[in-house]
């Protein structure tokens, strides 16, 4: 594995929401999907995954139910709720704005100031 990026603080929740927005997933599936989408560039602390899932469920952004995994084992599946969809949208927007602003600040050269 090449050098991976550390996840920025506070972005895990947003990534989880994005991951389950593409279809219901179990906890391990969430981890896999994020890694897959990022092209294995992001390193996610596995230990912080479940607290985040529980927190999001507690807040009502995702809901869970027990189902069967691809290898016929009992697994807990998470899916996005309506509230979660709204949340994901607003998070995405503010992230994009933030990225633009930060990016433009970082691109400035001394002459431009």
């Amino acid at each position: 594995m090449g050098k991976q990026l550390e996840l920025l603080q506070g972005t895990l929740d947003m990534l989880i929401l994005k991951a389950v927005s593409l279809g219901p997933l179990h906890g391990y599936g969430v981890l896999l999907r994020i890694q897959q989408i990022s092209g294995d560039q992001l390193e996610i602390q596995q230990g912080s995954l479940y607290p985040a899932l529980y927190r999001l469920e507690h807040q009502g952004f995702i809901a869970s139910e027990w189902g069967e995994s691809e290898n016929n084992r009992k697994a807990k599946y998470y899916r996005l709720t309506a509230a979660g969809r709204k949340r994901l949208q607003s998070e995405t927007e503010s992230w994009n704005r933030m990225a633009t602003v930060i990016g433009s600040i970082l691109r400035r050269t001394p002459e431009e100031v």
């Binding site: 596995q46 230990g47 927190r55």
Partner: protein, 897 residues
């Protein structure tokens, strides 16, 4: 993020903890297995793959903690942990836990009992709208004597007053309510038609009274109380319009009042209300007119003072109207007003507030004591706390944990205290309800339990926070480096502990002084020369079921035959009837009349007003009670119904109404059908009202002369009667015989009361006795708790100083020196506390002034005596640890190092 989903998941986390944990475990297991599977597929050896899966995910316990924190239930988890830990801590130190619990239970129990009493009396919620705006008032004459409220005056107030928005009036009354099955003794006050609207309470069924229902000749109507409606009419919804018999008259039921409504508010019987008929006779202003009690509602912006001023002004103008009908006497010229609640409880206020103060002191002592215990324990646990701190517990977290411990203690203490309060109230219920004039049994109710909760929190804060804070502030490092056995509390902390013990001692001295003053009062009261003999005297109050005898002259049918039978009994030297026996305030008949004084030597005639207690007494009463005559004679065999009606008066009466000297023989009173009553003797005063009160003017009529139909027969002979019996042997021996004879003679006398006169005297000390007993308990408890505090602290300090004491002794200190050193420390606390207590007692014992008799609130002897008791007990409590200190074996103490 809806609140609902949050609450739902938090609730689930708290209540289905096990299920959640197992679900999380399943989920994590699935994660680990899948991850390990993937790793194996990438070529990692299976064992290594499983290890890596475990490591990357972290421990299950940690995951659980994190997940639960994200649910916001970690606080509760920690609380649970703290509680479990606290319970373990308390179990591991049973001596400490038990002491703290008992002390707290005492403090909180006493406070709860006292709050219950206050709630039932001073802060009683009256069942009317805005009860605080209700006032009651009475008319006073120029001398300040309470007269009477006349209908004619009330009507003027109603018309003229602007400060009172409404004025109602009533006269308490009783009646027998008849249903086909039973006869019910009910309170049946006669009320003005507007009374319910003054109280602003409307019937839940039917209607209240109309003004013209007060005019004579209209059909008789009444309103039922809720309890009567429920019990007698089985909550019949059609009850309105039905008829019911009350004292042989037929009444139509107009309505039913809501549950909980009672008026007057201190009445314990089931109630009905009926309109008072107003005739032209009510318009007359003289003393044969019916008097009323008045309830008014203050108008917007009015105060008791402003309304009193206004009504007094109106009454001033009305006073001259009395002259014509009252033979030139002045009528009432002003009014005195109080809020209605005040009128019910004002006489109790000083007593209750004094007791409340006593209880608060006890509570403070208890808190100080438990705080000291906690402090001492906190020091002993310093090392443990330091270890926790070193392992990463935050300071706040440690304070919280210690606070949870004190909260647990306080809660257990409160539960015990509540039980204690319930028991105390039950034990004292008789004394309390008679002393407080509270009809119902007092039990702790919801408000009181709420107050208790508050008290618990407050106690926990008071005795828990300070030690917790001190413990958390202690530097971790030095505590860790020290051995816990020799961990020395700082000097400052010792001073704090000693200060608290001194404060406890001071506060308990305040209660001891109060108790001492009360005991001295009781002693003084018991040694007042009463003026009559109490030995070998029995008092009988014949009681018959009222409803059976309501149309029968009980005096002729019951009392007279009973007296005759008792006089023949073996062992009875003399027996006599008396309307009411001295010191028995079971019945009171005040007698007011216009006396005519004829002075035979000067031929002068004058008239004057007399107000005195009136009794009918038998001619043998003097033989029973052995009082002395100051002048003239007592009744004898010559006084028969046919002879000149005679009376005797007491010395106070003679001084008040015949100040010019001898009145025997030339003093007659004109009243009743027979015309004149001649005063034939003057009795030496004796205490007939109370041991602590001087004799009231009294006039006694001769019972043997009184006949049914006499004007004064009804209010004296028929209304109430007691028997006085002089026995030859000890009165207790005769009691059983007497009861048998009475029941043989008339089975209806079953419920009669038989007492010795000594018992009557003791009972008459009621309020002082109750106060003294309560204070004995409070002061005893306080002393015990304070001494336990002193003892505990010294024992602890000696334990801490074992090594130092060992060194001292090894260097040659004598055992006596060591004992003296510890006792000196105790004396310092005792003296500081004692001085503090005396200073406090100086101010607080004034609250007791109204209870004291024959002793000043600042009685130096009492203060000296209780201080001596305190110091003696204190030194005794200190001697035990002091001796233990002296017995320290220097070798062992040093080797223990």
């Amino acid at each position: 993020m809806s609140l609902r989903s949050r609450l739902a998941s938090a609730w689930k986390a708290l209540t289905h903890r096990e299920q959640m944990e197992s679900e999380l475990e399943t989920e994590l297991q699935f994660h680990r297995d899948s991850y390990a599977g993937d790793l194996i597929r990438q070529g990692v050896p299976p064992q290594e793959a499983e290890r890596r899966a475990r490591v990357e995910l972290g421990s299950a316990v940690h995951q659980q903690e994190e997940c639960r924190e994200s649910f916001g239930v970690r606080f509760w988890d920690e609380l649970r942990g703290d509680l479990r830990y606290a319970a373990r801590q308390l179990r591991s130190a049973p001596g400490f836990a038990l002491t703290a619990l008992v002390v707290l239970a005492l403090g909180i129990g006493a406070s709860t009992a006292m709050f219950s009493v206050l709630h039932a009396t001073l802060f009683k919620p009256l069942p009317y709208e805005a009860p605080g705006r209700l006032v009651t008032l009475r008319e006073l004459d120029a001398k300040g004597n309470f007269v009477w409220n006349f209908y004619a005056d009330i009507r003027e107030w109603q018309q003229q007053s602007k400060q009172l928005s409404a004025i109602g009036y009533f006269a308490p009354n009783r009646g027998y309510l008849e249903t086909p099955y039973e006869v019910y003794a009910a309170s049946a006050p006669l009320v003005s038609a507007n009374l319910l609207s003054v109280l602003r309470v409307q019937p839940i069924l039917g209607r209240g009274f109309l003004p013209d229902e007060q005019s004579p000749g209209t059909s008789k109507v009444l309103v039922l109380s809720y309890s009567l409606w429920r019990n007698l009419f089985h909550s019949d919804p059609q009850v309105v319009g039905k008829t019911v018999k009350l004292d042989d008259d037929t009444y139509t039921i107009l309505g039913v009042m809501p549950g909980g409504f009672e008026f007057p508010a201190n009445e314990d019987r089931a109630q009905v209300w009926r309109p008072v008929p107003i005739t032209s006779a009510n318009e007359v202003r003289n003393f044969s007119t019916m008097g009323f009690e008045v309830v008014g509602r203050l108008a917007e912006g009015a105060t008791v003072a402003s309304a009193q001023t206004e009504l007094s002004g109106i009454q001033q103008r009305l006073a001259p109207l009395f002259r014509t009908v009252m033979q030139g006497q002045d009528g009432p010229s002003r009014v005195e007003m109080k809020t209605y609640l005040d009128s019910l409880v004002s006489n109790l206020r000083p007593a209750l507030l004094a007791l409340l103060a006593a209880v608060s002191i006890l509570w403070l002592i208890a808190c100080a004591n438990v705080a000291n215990l906690m402090l001492a324990r906190g020091i002993a646990r310093q090392r443990e706390l330091a270890v926790r701190g070193a392992l990463g517990a935050g300071r706040l977290r440690i304070v919280r944990q210690l606070f949870t411990e004190s909260l647990l203690l306080a809660s257990c203490g409160s539960a015990l205290g509540l039980a204690l309060a319930a028991v105390t109230l039950r034990v004292f219920s008789k004394g309390l309800s008679s002393a407080l004039n509270v009809p119902h049994e007092i039990t702790p109710d919801f408000t009181v339990i709420a107050a208790l909760l508050l008290l618990t929190l407050l106690s926990a804060a008071l005795f828990g926070l300070l030690p917790a804070w001190l413990a958390a502030r202690a530097p971790i490092e030095s505590s860790l480096r020290q051995n816990s056995a020799q961990a020395q509390g700082s000097r400052r902390r010792h001073r704090l502990q000693q200060g608290m013990v001194a404060a406890e001692i001071g506060l308990s001295l305040v209660l001891l002084v109060a108790c001492g003053l009360m005991l001295k009062t009781l002693f003084a009261l018991r040694h007042v020369p009463l003026g009559f003999r109490t030995d070998h005297v029995l008092v009988v109050e014949p009681k018959v079921p009222e409803y059976k005898f309501r149309n029968i002259d009980v005096s002729q049918a019951v009392y007279r035959p009973l007296l005759e039978r008792v006089q023949q009994m073996h062992g009875v030297q003399a027996a006599s009837i008396s309307t009411v026996m001295p010191l028995r305030n079971t019945f009171d008949m005040m007698f007011m009349l216009h006396g005519s004084r004829s002075n035979k030597t000067t031929g002068e005639n004058g008239s004057f007003k007399i107000s005195a207690k009136m009794k009918a007494v038998g001619r043998d009463l003097q033989k029973v009670l052995g009082f002395r005559m100051a002048e003239g004679r007592f009744f004898n065999e010559q006084d028969t119904p046919e002879s000149q009606q005679v009376a005797v008066v007491n010395k106070t009466f003679a001084k008040l109404y015949a100040p010019e000297g001898s009145l025997t023989g030339n003093f007659t009173l004109s009243f009743g059908k027979k015309g004149e009553v001649k005063v034939v003797g003057v009795i030496d005063d004796f205490h007939q009202v109370g041991v602590d009160k001087p004799a009231a003017p009294e006039i006694d009529l001769c019972a043997e002369q009184m006949q049914p139909g006499d004007g004064l027969y009804q209010p004296t002979m028929q209304a109430h009667a007691e028997l006085a019996i002089r026995t030859s042997a000890s009165p207790e021996q005769l009691m059983a015989d007497l009861r048998r004879v009475m029941v043989d003679l008339n089975p209806d006398l079953q419920a009669s009361e038989i007492l010795t006169m000594d018992q009557v005297v003791e009972d008459s000390l009621g309020s002082q006795l109750l106060a003294a007993h309560l204070l004995e308990i409070f002061a005893g408890t306080a002393l015990g708790v304070a001494l336990a505090g002193l003892f505990g602290l010294l024992t602890y300090l000696v334990g801490q100083r074992t090594r130092e004491l060992g060194i001292r002794m090894a260097l040659g200190a004598q055992r006596e020196t060591i004992v003296a050193m510890i006792l000196k420390q105790a004396t310092l606390m005792l003296v500081t506390g004692g001085l503090l207590g005396i200073a406090l007692a100086w101010f607080t014992s004034r609250m007791l002034a109204s209870f004291l008799f024959g002793v000043s609130p600042h009685d130096a002897w009492t203060i000296a005596a209780v201080s001596a008791v305190l110091v003696t007990c204190g030194l005794f409590a200190a001697y035990i640890p002091a001796r233990r200190a002296a017995q320290v074996n220097p070798l062992e103490a040093l080797r223990a190092e």
